[in-house]
């Protein structure tokens, strides 16, 4: 016995090698060639027992420090029902592969079907896929879909108010890929869509609401304008916000994207998150990634299977709609369990409480001299707190940390721009208690006073 993860005893090895007519396992590696075979194990630490690793990880984990997070910027600390962890940890879900063998994977396929349905319901769209990596990836896939869906499309219009990291992921995608991004500037913190000019080679427009500052944007008439030029509209949205704000479908969007992090996934240092994409029916054959469909077996029994696979890389290779293979299935399952537990009333309650609590904090912070909460546009659960003197921000963060509060995300952390150094993004979810809010306000008054 070599290791608990390798069951072979000396006798096992001897018996198997005898069956193969070989003297040692090394013989099986001769084909690699002496030049390439390593004489010694690779230079990493020796294997440890489970208990030793547990202890080691414990001490590493202690170097992470937790606080009361008023942090957002694309990841939010929300209430998650106990069912999510318990049920998504069921070992058959956790240790299965992609459900290529439908008869043996009905449970997983059905759960994905329910996920797709819920995403459609929440976004008011027709077709949702089985998940993408994260919100930034969903935006990249939306851009790819746009340039592929329209003949001669070479450019994608992108609002300057989408999440800075998602914008960076888009810029990575266009690098040498033969496409161009054209930035739609912002005005007072929202996309400036007046006088939108849509050339023939534009595949579509990508916007985000709540946007990078937390503001809710107005897309009245935008879809119609794009459609006149055969271009598509993609709206990126935190899906929980759609319990309150007008949905991508209701704005007439062709593509809805985002991340279900706010629906049951937790913080997890940013991953796994779970990208989603939902489209209107005409884009059925263009949506990237896996799709589960309902069908019947030979006896007429209802069943679920991966379908429309002719879009995908394992069939179409270089002509596939995307290169995605593995997605975020288990995270999508967590979102499905979360939504099954919360129901619509729970979603509305969580989104509504976030709105109320964020506005409570904004209301009180905005009245402190030296701080400003811009009020040109409505927001949902996250808002920019502007410091008249950027130098105060460092002290502010430190003093609140001393009270156990992570006060917000510096905008400059996301944009790495000096001009954003005076702005703190503050996120408030339904999970923050009145006590925590009041502690934040009291400490802020003290620090600024």
């Amino acid at each position: 016995m070599i290791h608990p993860y390798i069951p072979h005893t000396d006798e096992d090895r001897a018996r198997m090698l005898e069956a193969l007519g070989l003297s040692s396992i090394d013989r099986l590696f001769e084909v690699v060639g002496e030049e390439l075979l390593l004489e010694d194990p690779v230079p990493i630490a020796h294997g440890r027992t489970e208990e030793e690793v547990r202890r080691m990880i414990d001490s590493i984990a202690r170097r992470n420090i937790r606080g009361i997070p008023f942090l957002g910027g694309g990841s939010y600390d929300r209430i998650i029902p106990s069912t999510v962890q318990a049920l998504s940890s069921l070992p058959s879900f956790v240790t299965a592969y992609t459900p290529y063998q439908a008869e043996m994977s009905q449970g997983l396929l059905q759960a994905i079907f329910e996920f797709q349905s819920m995403v459609c319901e929440i976004t008011s769209m027709d077709i949702a896929n089985a998940s993408l990596y994260d919100g930034s990836h969903a935006i990249v896939e939306a851009a790819l879909l746009m340039v592929n869906a329209k003949r001669g499309a070479k450019r994608v219009l992108v609002s300057a108010t989408i999440h800075p990291f998602a914008l960076e992921a888009l810029q990575t995608w266009v690098l040498g890929a033969g496409y161009e991004l054209e930035m739609i500037p912002e005005k007072d913190g929202v996309a400036d869509l007046a006088g939108l000019d849509i050339a023939d080679d534009v595949g579509g427009l990508i916007v985000q609401s709540p946007n990078r500052y937390g503001f809710i944007e107005d897309y009245d008439g935008i879809a119609e304008l794009l459609h006149e030029h055969k271009a598509l509209l993609a709206i990126s949205a935190d899906p929980l916000s759609l319990a309150i704000q007008r949905t991508p479908g209701q704005w007439g969007a062709d593509i809805a994207v985002g991340d279900t992090q706010s629906l049951g996934l937790g913080l997890a240092f940013g991953g796994p998150a779970c990208g989603y994409m939902a489209v209107k029916r005409p884009l059925l054959r263009r949506i990237p990634g896996r799709l589960v469909g309902m069908t019947t077996d030979g006896e007429g029994r209802r069943g679920f299977t991966l379908t429309l696979q002719a879009r995908e890389q394992h069939i179409k290779r270089e002509r596939a709609t995307s290169n995605i293979c593995s997605n975020q299935a288990l995270a999508a399952l967590m979102t499905t369990i979360h939504l099954s537990s919360l129901g619509w009333s729970g979603m509305v309650e969580a989104a509504g409480q976030s709105y109320a609590k964020a506005h409570y904090l904004a209301h009180h912070l905005g009245r402190i001299p030296g701080l400003e909460v811009p009020d040109a546009h409505p927001f949902w659960c996250e808002f920019p707190l502007v410091f008249q003197d950027a130098n105060h921000l460092e002290t502010f963060l430190r003093e609140l940390r001393n009270e156990g509060i992570f006060a917000g995300v510096r905008l400059s952390t996301l944009t790495r721009k000096d001009t954003d150094e005076s702005v703190l993004l503050v996120a408030v979810t339904e999970k923050r208690s009145r006590e925590e809010l009041d502690l934040y306000i009291r400490t802020a008054r003290r620090v600024m006073g």
Partner: protein
């Protein structure tokens, strides 16, 4: 056993969860203005209204209609369905990781950053590369990232002619798809009689228009590309780069290193080789690793050691930029880190050795019953062809797969690689004991006999599952993909 959709069990007014009541001052709540009407959602979403127990039973029942590695052997070729240690699950549930925000001040996430840095050090040592990035969330995301770096490298040289990527016909579908997403033209390279890259064909296709050759080694037939050093030399001589698809690294992990073979960039599938669970199709983790040549182009930020602790390094002018929202699938690669700590250098080597031993043992025992078109130098997996059964008895690879389901096994990968007719690709991994291999062999022999004796019975398989074979044509035609 058919489990209804949860929405079909929905009863108006039933609750599975209740949030704490809003605890703000009443006057504030009363005076709070809602979102302006024109920005508000119209109507509701149809979600289930059920009790907590309804939710629990629903998903518990669904989980019983799924076969995972924990349920039984899963010899799915090229997917390395090895045992996923429970310690990894325990660690990935620790609040000190799950409740850490990705944008916390860097001084408060030193534990996470040390995991990233240590894991990259270990992966560099294991692959023989100089550094990497953990941002890619899956294998094909790693391919996308690696090819993007190749693109950036040539752009930096001012070389815009290199628009082609060479890919063997036996490659995974993600390879050509990732090349296409990056705007490359795909050129196929033929396989020779032994199932390896046809050197003459490769050399005839190399030119100053080729950016890279993507190679899986061992390849998807489970065979080691024994001419790899000559391939590497030819590719580099043509000024192109060599990309390693790490899907099959389990065969040589700790025994040989892609870096020593001359690869310039590679991706790993931590959810295969490094034992993180597949989760029903993800989340995975597909780190990219590079040599010194491509290191400046890695995604940003890098994680660098300071006098005390670690910091993010964004100051990387040649970086291709970000490829994921934050820092990749942290809880996934955390599990891989735990696996590497458990195994150590000797353990990884032993895992590869036993994976190869198991595959060769299976191949040897199945050879009297099944045709194995490529047998020379089998590593961690092999491909059988049931073409002869199809010709004589009308039984296809799919029929064999479905019959295995009734024997309690997840079937091997079918109809892949494309260069073998009626292919079944079998990868046992090192996790299976000889007893478990023997039981699988017996099942395969039973099915082979049935195929000859009573082929019609295989056409009806599976019969032990909640549903039989599904109508795929109807699924496509109806395209019913939501409730």
């Amino acid at each position: 056993m058919i489990e209804p959709l949860l929405i079909e069990k929905s009863v108006k007014g039933r609750l599975a969860y209740r949030l704490p009541p809003l605890d703000l001052p009443e006057t504030f709540v009363r005076e709070l203005e809602p979102l302006p009407a024109h920005l508000r959602r119209e109507g509701s979403a149809r979600l289930p209204e059920v009790s907590e127990l309804d939710v629990v039973r629903h998903f518990t029942r669904l989980s019983k209609m799924v076969h995972g590695v924990d349920d039984g052997m899963y010899p799915l070729g090229s997917c390395t369905m090895k045992y996923n240690p429970k310690l990894g699950e325990e660690v990935a549930r620790m609040a000190q990781f799950t409740r850490i925000h990705p944008l916390q001040d860097v001084s408060t996430v030193q534990g996470c950053l040390s995991v990233i840095h240590s894991l990259l050090e270990d992966l560099s040592a294991i692959t023989g590369m100089s550094w990497g990035s953990l941002q890619p969330c899956a294998g094909s995301h790693g391919e996308y990232t690696g090819l993007k770096m190749i693109r950036a490298y040539f752009l930096k040289q001012g070389d815009r002619r290199r628009t082609k990527v060479l890919i063997p016909v036996s490659a995974h579908g993600t390879n050509p798809a990732s090349a296409a997403v990056n705007g490359f033209d795909v050129v196929e390279v033929a396989s020779n009689r032994k199932g390896l890259v046809d050197l003459a064909d490769l050399k005839s296709k190399l030119s100053d228009e080729v950016a890279a050759l993507m190679l899986t080694n061992p390849n998807t037939l489970g065979l080691f590309e024994e001419d790899i050093l000559e391939i590497s030399e030819a590719v580099h001589e043509a000024g192109a780069l060599l990309y390693y698809d790490g899907a099959n690294l389990n065969a040589i992990m700790g025994k040989a290193r892609p870096g020593d073979m001359g690869f310039d960039v590679l991706h790993l599938n931590l959810h295969k080789t490094f034992s993180t669970p597949h989760g029903g199709g993800g989340p995975g983790s597909g780190p990219v690793m590079v040599n010194d040549l491509l290191r400046p182009f890695l995604p940003k930020p890098d994680i660098i050691p300071q006098e005390e602790g670690y910091a993010f390094d964004w100051d990387r002018p040649d970086s291709i930029g970000k490829v994921s929202m934050f820092w990749g699938n942290f809880l996934v690669y955390l599990r891989a880190y735990v696996y590497i700590l458990r195994m150590g250098g000797e353990g990884l080597r032993a895992a590869a050795g036993h994976a190869v031993l198991n595959a060769n043992y299976l191949a040897k025992k199945l050879a009297p019953y099944y045709e194995i078109p490529y047998t020379s130098g089998i590593m961690h997996e092999f491909v059988i062809s049931v073409k002869n059964y199809k010709e004589r008895y009308g039984v296809t690879a799919e029929d064999f797969a479905k019959a295995l389901i009734d024997e309690g096994y997840h079937p091997p990968t079918v109809y892949f690689p494309l260069i073998v007719d009626e292919a079944l690709m079998i990868e046992p991994t090192e996790s299976e004991s000889p007893e478990s291999l023997d039981a699988f062999i017996e099942a395969m022999i039973r099915i082979a006999e049935k195929a000859k004796r009573d082929p019609a019975s295989l056409k009806k398989a599976p019969v032990s599952t909640p549903v039989g074979r599904l109508d795929q044509v109807k699924a496509v035609k109806d395209a019913k993909v939501r409730y």
